[in-house]
Symmetry: C2
Subunit: 359 residues, 2 copies
Amino acid sequence: MDAPRLRAEFPVLARIAYLNAGTDGPLPAAAVAAAIGELGREVGEGRAQAHFQRNTELKDALRGEYAGLLGADAADVALTTCTTEGIAQTLGGLALGKGDEIITSDEEHPGLLGALSALRELHGVSIRTVPLERVADAVDSRTTLVACSHVGWMSGSFAPAELADVAVPVLLDGAQGVGAVPVDVLALGCDAYAGPGQKWLCGPDGTGMLYIRGELRERLAISRRGYSNLQDAMSGLDARLHDDARSLDCASMNAETLACALAATRVLASAGWEEVHGRARDLAQHLCERLTEIGREPAPRGPGTLVSFPSQDPEGERALLADRGIVLRNIPGRPWLRASVGAWNDAEDIDRLLAALSG
Amino acid sequence: MDAPRLRAEFPVLARIAYLNAGTDGPLPAAAVAAAIGELGREVGEGRAQAHFQRNTELKDALRGEYAGLLGADAADVALTTCTTEGIAQTLGGLALGKGDEIITSDEEHPGLLGALSALRELHGVSIRTVPLERVADAVDSRTTLVACSHVGWMSGSFAPAELADVAVPVLLDGAQGVGAVPVDVLALGCDAYAGPGQKWLCGPDGTGMLYIRGELRERLAISRRGYSNLQDAMSGLDARLHDDARSLDCASMNAETLACALAATRVLASAGWEEVHGRARDLAQHLCERLTEIGREPAPRGPGTLVSFPSQDPEGERALLADRGIVLRNIPGRPWLRASVGAWNDAEDIDRLLAALSG
């Protein structure tokens, strides 16, 4: 699928220079059609045995797509409602306490910091914060775990490759990773990778994934055990958890949301992931050069899709740009606007942003 | 709204004698239209600031509807993805261990039993199982908590009124309660009440509610802390949980699912809850009498909407009925078929079922 054809899959791009996938991706028309198809089936046929079989098929298919993207076995991938949920399931299940120390970075999102603050407040776990590029170097004999971004949501910096070699488990927050840049959980050497379905995979809100290595999963105390987490749900108090990542699946997700996420991911897959990643990376680089030309040199970043650049009035300028049909976000606490550049964007979106910034 | 008008809101009923709301209710056309409306907005406008504001408005509105139904303050109601999630959040957060004993009944669903088995396996909590009508009498000095159904999913029995007077906290599984029968959490005297959106409220899968009394909520160790659970999410590790039940909200739910649940609930509300409850109760009673006439006397039950009756081949007979456009379920482990009777059903649905059972 060439660039104009991919772009045409996203109705919002006909009108808006949508540079906001780091928050929520543009939805493809095919994803909405898939959701509507499921809703039509449910309203007409009701929801009984065939419905639950359909739900399971959709979960299997979506899990397979996510696993493929992560370079993981489907058995090691749980379906979650969002990145936050996978992080909380992992960190909350490890029975950490006083004497444990987690290293994190100074560029983390509330979705990770919330779970870390809970460990500190409830269990006395020590949290050490260092710059993202230092998280591997900082590991020492006190360290229990590293939990940080794969790609930082503020600047677009990447976690250091040296994380693959540290001696403790690593949990990566992949909110700005999966879909945006190539991910290979084995090469990254991480033990858990939590990601969203609604950002760079252009799916609906309320979707996500958790890759978790079997050895780490087996250490987790899993207290939420619903029908879909159990291999023999009708065995009462003796029911056993699935012996794979389904034990961590979110308790319930509807068919319309699953189908929407699946169709969105497949739109991108059909364009070719290498194409999708390469085109976004190159266009983001192009944006960086254009911004530098007008004296708005972006913050240091990795070779990804986020471009954060200075603004004297981030909130005001964001609103002004929105009025002109250019959608991006400001970063709370930093004097930055952040553009999220996807393979669905084109040079004209960049031109519109530059013209508005210069005008 | 009179009975035929309410019935006309549910397209599936034009063709199918749908008696399966105890699993998943029939979806009203208005609920699907509401979901499609949100999807249309998202695909055309993208998902930025106005989108998240819309999501918050929908959450507030849905929380308000649920709270009204439960006789609770909205501040004490969390939005969940299902009954199971609310149960797990409550039981998993109480830091119970050896020496604690929970009383439950012999008619519980995996959604509750899963969380109880986790407490037993991971923390050595003792679980004592008694008949549902005995859960209040069974409380003694060893008892830490009672966790059982408001209305049992197998027989339709009700938890005893005496639960309101026991000296320990009570968690009710309201999967077959809220929407089916009147619920007043204060009169029930429960400290937590977990319920679904997709059963008797005819909403989408992946929706639910947790009422939790402030005193019990304040005892919970809440380890999942996402953006929507925090009152000052941008305060990093110092961010504080909302000081109401939003601290327990599921991490993410999309606008289409919220709007679908809200519209479904409002269809029923517009018919009047007293009408909805009374009509379903009377029609279920009518079904009981008809079944008794043909020698299929239902299992002992309460004055609700579930009617479980004997079958010599529950799975086979369920399939046979489905072939004739009559949808209900069999109960695993019991020689029963279970009909779920709602205000949307009519005497003709009952006639069809009886004719098929007799024929």
